[in-house]
Symmetry: C2
């Protein structure tokens, strides 16, 4: 059994780095708040006897030796960055839960056959730099390190510059730390476990993701003197796209979602018809065929809207992550750990993307979910109970012990 109070203390101690007035955390990746939590995490790992290294994209790896160092380590962890209006648990539970597993094994004097490696992946959220799960995507070879280093945030700062600005461009090449498998603990970020009164979600799959950058070019014109029929209004165009996206996701539901999270009017003014808007789109489904249908329906709707309104709409698919099907043996190991510990559980699909989804493309991976209040996440009000966080960390530990061997 892990030390529930110690885990809870670590979560609340690190929540000070970027704490918001509403009780959430604003800790954008590679920001000064991210540096603070990274420094804290490095010290905590070193204090727990781990050998800590940082790779060229800033991900932190803390290695605990095993009896058989020829065996690849069992990877555990998650991320410490948050959304602009993020909570205290998303990513943090999985990273500090992994640290708590190490601390517990140390206290109990337990050695494992295979080594264990705790990881804090850079930029899981994808809010400052696209795509999400950025560092783990480079780790599995979806993008080159140089490509990722050149990605820019809204202010034009690159990942490379941001890493340097907080001193976290590590000396190890991406992929230096081989892993044999990866297990990630996370809050569900959805309402199912809570609604059904289950403590553990045994994650067997994850939704695929489509990310688009969009740009609407209408025509700026006077709000008072331009008759309604002559307008080429970029905001009215966006509005139709938002509602079309909503309708398309509902049509393909319940196994589909679609969101427009960002939209910026260029040179806005009260009495000017918007002429240009940059926006982004996020579509998801756990079913590859539905993802294709979402893409097709969305493009058709946008083409029709643009032609009818005589505006230009460009959309650019900047990321496509296929649905994830986690490793059957690891899924069974998680399920078995939950059963052994006496926690109620159910199989579940992850609505959110996770670093474990990337790692699953090159090694066996699995995930453990615990409930969060009202399914709320990516919100400062995100909440979870100490008991559920401890239960998930216990399941993580017992899964690791089963895989690594005692």
């Amino acid at each position: 059994q892990i030390d529930s109070a110690r885990l809870w203390g670590s979560i609340h101690e690190t929540a000070q780095f970027g704490a918001t007035a509403k009780g959430g955390v604003r800790r954008l990746t590679l920001s000064s708040e991210d540096k603070q939590v990274r420094d804290w995490f490095r010290k905590a790992c070193a204090d727990a006897g781990l050998e800590v290294h940082v790779d060229a994209l800033g991900s932190q790896f803390g290695l605990r030796k095993g009896r058989d160092m020829s065996k690849p380590p069992v990877g555990i962890g998650s991320h410490l960055d948050t959304q602009p209006t993020g909570g205290k648990y998303d990513g943090i539970l999985g990273t500090l839960g992994a640290l708590e597993v190490i601390r517990t094994l140390n206290d109990a004097g337990i050695e494992t056959e295979a080594p264990i490696c705790v990881v804090n992946w850079t930029n899981e959220e994808g809010s400052r730099f696209a795509p999400a799960m950025m560092a783990s995507a480079a780790y599995v070879g979806d993008f080159t390190t140089d490509d990722i280093l050149s990605r820019k945030d809204a202010e034009g700062m690159t990942v490379g510059q941001a890493l340097d600005s907080i001193g976290y461009r590590g000396d190890k090449p991406v992929g230096f730390q081989k892993l044999g498998c990866f297990v990630e603990l996370h809050i569900e970020q959805g309402p199912i476990l809570e609604a059904e009164g289950k403590t553990i979600g045994v994650v067997d799959s994850g939704q695929g993701v489509l990310w688009y950058d969009g740009k609407i070019s209408g025509f700026e014109s006077h709000a008072g003197s331009t008759p309604m029929p002559l307008r080429r209004d970029a905001l009215a165009t966006l509005s139709e796209i938002v509602l079309a996206m909503e309708a398309i996701a509902k049509k393909h539901g319940p196994n589909a979602v679609g969101t427009i999270g960002e939209a910026v009017i260029a040179n806005p003014s009260r009495n000017v018809i918007p002429g240009e808007i940059a926006f982004t789109m996020d579509c998801r489904s756990a079913d590859g065929a539905i993802m294709d249908a979402l893409d097709r329906d969305l493009r058709a709707a946008i083409t029709e809207i643009a032609a009818r309104r005589k505006v230009e709409v460009k959309i650019d698919l900047v990321w496509r992550k296929p649905p994830t099907h986690f490793d059957p043996k690891l899924i069974a190991a998680v399920e078995n750990a939950a059963k052994t510990l006496g926690y109620s559980s159910r199989r579940i699909t992850s609505g959110a993307g996770h670093d474990a989804c990337n790692l699953n493309t090159v090694m066996p991976a699995a995930m453990v979910f615990v409930p969060c209040k009202d399914g709320i996440s990516h919100n400062e009000l995100e909440d979870a109970t100490q008991g559920d966080c401890a239960a998930g960390t216990n399941v993580l530990m017992h899964t690791v012990l089963a895989i690594a061997g005692v």
Copy 2:
């Protein structure tokens, strides 16, 4: 006859202050570019023998003496500020046209009975500070000087601070310069004169304006894991409001328009459902009853949308300018000047608001319109011909001579 080449030269010389790459002008009120054009204008007025004063809101007044100084001056002029994506003519033609009238009278050695006063009104555009036609509204007593001085731009800077920052908080109280009447030359900013091949628009009325500030409070939530039916999406809400506004304006058309020009998502992120949006609305009609109907229909639509989507929408009417009916005698004077000079003309309603509309509430006022290319305004591509600009300035001069007396 005015000097067409000199007028054209002044327009293009001042267009350098805030010139944009696309050939337009970005000269927000009380910005450093506005200071440049004000300095230019002050010198040009002084060189033309005018006595120049600045009032507490930065408006510039250049007085040309008349034979009978007991008569109130005939006011002419417009504004030199522009939209963020503005053109070279909106406001500028009327201000530099007024200067050209003075220069022409000087060259011809013409004295008038009543004095003539050239005016550059501060913040006609209303883009940086609300409301539009701000200084002339204070001049006619719609707002106190102190109220206006405390209005803030998007960065939180007040009108008072902005005036001080460019050294244009004048020593004269608002209203110090009495005027007997006001005549404003302007580009039409709409497509009618060009379409009908008319050179002069004799403006007999102006649309009323409703300006609102709005705020939508939905709920931020994860774009991947929040099922469509559980969302309280602020952007989907705004989208419905935008399309409702468009439909309502069309329903009450052709004599009505409605625009949402500004909308800002708080803490935007690709994978977060927008939780909070601030926006503005602009509705207009030349018919007061239609303005009331627009307001009523809009409020009803917003109430229904907000309730159905379980979000909060607050709207605040921040400005209501009733429709304008210009002075019949001055309208006739403009019409007569156009006829005498041999220009084709027609009566017309102004779609845009103008300082003359404010002045009309306390003194006789009228306006002269000239065509602009494709009716385009509040756009960097705004354009007008040298011949039309000169024609309008000639009509302005002959109207002034008729009123002021030679």
